[in-house]
Amino acid sequence: DAMVIQNPRYQVTQFGKPVTLSCSQTLNHNVMYWYQQKSSQAPKLLFHYYDKDFNNEADTPDNFQSRRPNTSFCFLDIRSPGLGDAAMYLCATSRDSDSYSYEQYFGPGTRLTVT
């Protein structure tokens, strides 16, 4: 089945130690998104890619970076994790369009713990 895969499902890192979360998709969608979701809160968009074009949200901290080496894969790098970065990180994909909006397909998420 076509899907969005995130690895690992659970990640523990130390305060200040760089960490990378990965996302892959078999849907062949041009658009990929990264969201941060803290406990009992709504998902918050960090950035998204339209193909290779990177679109950062204005309030996304510089500590968060992303890479998309090809259509299938996207990575979230947290350069110096702080305790406040502990959250669920959700990857999503969608078809691309200039005018119509399509549903987003979410991966299962990676739960990040910072010690």
Binding site: V31, S101, F106
Partner: protein, 113 residues
């Protein structure tokens, strides 16, 4: 920036009772999407509403989009335990090539037997 609020924040119902969550945006929306997130799960798309005043039904779920395209609602008739989860509306901004979702604050539904 765009803000999307939902009420209530929590709702506990007995199985068989109806449930409604209301979504209000600070700005006019081009369209709105609804997602359901089960406990420990990820958001799953339910529906998209595009037209002013639009009403769509999915079995026991009824979705409405306000005439002014600034509010929306989801009504579940005769809730079941499988309806448990958090329901999010999401305001949609179509960008060049993708669409940016601004999620509402969510309504967590618990259904008791």
């Amino acid at each position: 920036g765009q803000q999307v609020m939902q009420i209530p924040q929590y709702q506990h119902v007995q199985e068989g009772e109806d449930f409604t969550t209301y979504c209000n945006s600070s700005t006019t929306l081009s369209n709105i999407q609804w997602y359901k997130q089960r406990p420990g799960g990820h958001p799953v798309f339910l529906i998209q509403l595009v037209k002013s005043g639009e009403v769509k039904k999915q079995k026991r779920l009824t979705f409405q989009f306000g005439e002014a395209k600034k509010n929306s609602s989801l009504h579940i008739t005769a809730t079941q335990t499988t309806d448990v989860g958090t329901y999010f509306c999401a305001g949609n901004e179509v960008t060049g090539g993708g669409n940016k979702l601004t999620f509402g604050t969510g309504t967590q539904l618990k259904v008791e037997l």
